[in-house]
């Protein structure tokens, strides 16, 4: 069975080599097929930026990384809320909300499940003034968005010294074409 699997992989890979690679090393592939066996165990995970860093208490950061997303809300929402309320004066009153009109419980309920919501139907952005959480583009100023939602209050006007890090763009321009990221320094 294992042999059959390997043969099918080699076949699939050699098709690829034949179809789209400039270096036709089919034979090398056949002779030196890689070993992909074994079980890989989770070490780290991430959906939205900075969630583990900001909202998870130090002693729980490793545990957060090995809790599957569908179980994160039950395990971590109350910790997120405690840490949010300790961090930000913008949630000091029971009826305080952020600019998404989410109170501390609702906002942390959203964040505790650390997945990135992505639209397949159009604009993909963390927040562009109109669209909210439809993806994450390279140029999105995600930290300022998060700081505004944490510290900025209902209309982004509260705690101005804490709600913008005043770094709004990358240190190199992104590319309009694949692979989109700038070349290394």
């Amino acid at each position: 069975m294992k042999t059959i699997k390997r043969i099918s992989v080699v076949f699939a890979l050699s098709c690829l080599v034949f179809n789209c690679s400039t270096d036709d090393d089919n034979n090398t592939m056949m002779e030196n097929q890689p070993d992909f066996s074994g079980t890989y165990r989770q070490q780290d995970q991430m959906g939205r930026p900075a969630v583990n860093t900001v909202f998870v208490s130090s002693a729980s950061k490793d545990a957060f990384n090995v809790t599957i997303p569908s179980e994160q809300n039950a395990a971590f929402q109350s910790m997120f809320q405690t840490n949010l309320e300790a961090l930000s004066p913008a949630y000091a009153n029971a009826d305080d909300k952020n600019a998404l009109m989410l109170d501390a419980a609702t906002f942390t309920g959203l964040l505790a499940t650390d997945v990135l919501n992505v639209s397949l139907d159009g604009i993909t952005t963390f927040y562009d003034g109109t669209n909210v959480l439809t993806g994450r583009a390279l140029a999105d100023d995600v930290i300022t968005v998060e700081l505004l939602l944490i510290f900025g209050g209902e209309d982004f006007s509260e705690n101005p010294q804490l709600s913008n890090d005043n770094v709004s763009a990358n240190d190199k321009d992104f590319l309009s074409s694949f692979p989109y990221l700038a070349s290394p320094w």
């Binding site: 989770q42 860093t53 989109y180």
Partner: protein
């Protein structure tokens, strides 16, 4: 000027490594600074709007002088998880694993099991590989017959934040951010995996939930 920036970049790396760092860089004790430390994850519409692009970065704060020696770890699987029905459980995965100078990709494919443990989906119909781009070399990309495009190698860290000042605020030694701020990640590199995939292979329309995992053998 460039040299000065490089020198400054290295200084920043040294300073930043004392702190718990940012987007997901050095986020937790078990992974920080290691080969499985995820630094960032992006998902956005491609230049061809029929496609979605996933970017998974690992091993943050690599200085230019260390970038030529930076490598992907062959014992670390990077797995992009895609939930297409809103239950926050992965319905599809795209796996990336390096072997001997190449990054191999399997999926989008339904995983044999969901959750914390994975085996590599070597029987997946959708597969591909790309030579890992060397530092200083032009980006090497491959596109497979299904219309997926692949890249793996060092890139500029696309993340930007005045993390040093954030740490000072959290640490109680500053009352607010500076204007202008200073990008703690300026002049540093990451090891990057980029996959562009036709939207039709990951649900077609509507909203997906996605996250990235690093898994070690």
């Amino acid at each position: 000027m460039k040299n000065l920036k490089k020198v400054l970049g290295i200084g920043v790396v040294a300073a930043a490594s004392f702190f718990i760092v940012a987007a997901d860089h050095i986020d937790a004790p078990a992974v920080q600074g290691g080969s499985s430390d995820i630094t960032d994850f992006y998902a956005f519409q491609g230049e061809n709007t029929n496609n979605l692009v996933f970017v998974a970065n690992v091993q943050g704060l690599i200085s230019p002088s260390a970038s030529a020696d930076a490598v992907f770890d062959e014992s670390v699987l990077v797995e992009i998880n895609i939930d297409t029905n809103g239950d926050n459980v992965e319905d599809l995965v795209i796996q990336a694993i390096p072997r001997d100078g190449k990054m191999y990709f399997f999926g989008p494919v339904a995983p044999s099991q969901t959750g914390l443990n994975s085996t590599i989906a070597t029987t997946a119909v959708n597969t591909g590989w790309v030579d890992i781009t060397a530092y200083g070399e032009a980006a090497v990309t491959e596109t497979n017959t299904m219309g997926m495009t692949f890249f793996a190698g060092p890139r500029d860290d696309p993340f930007f934040m005045d993390f040093a000042q954030y740490s000072a605020i959290i640490g109680g030694t500053a009352n607010g951010f500076n204007d202008p701020g200073a990008d703690t990640f300026a002049g540093t590199n990451v090891m990057s995996i980029v996959v562009e995939v036709p939207k039709s292979m990951i649900g077609g329309s509507g909203t997906i939930n996605t996250w990235v995992e690093s898994k070690k053998k």
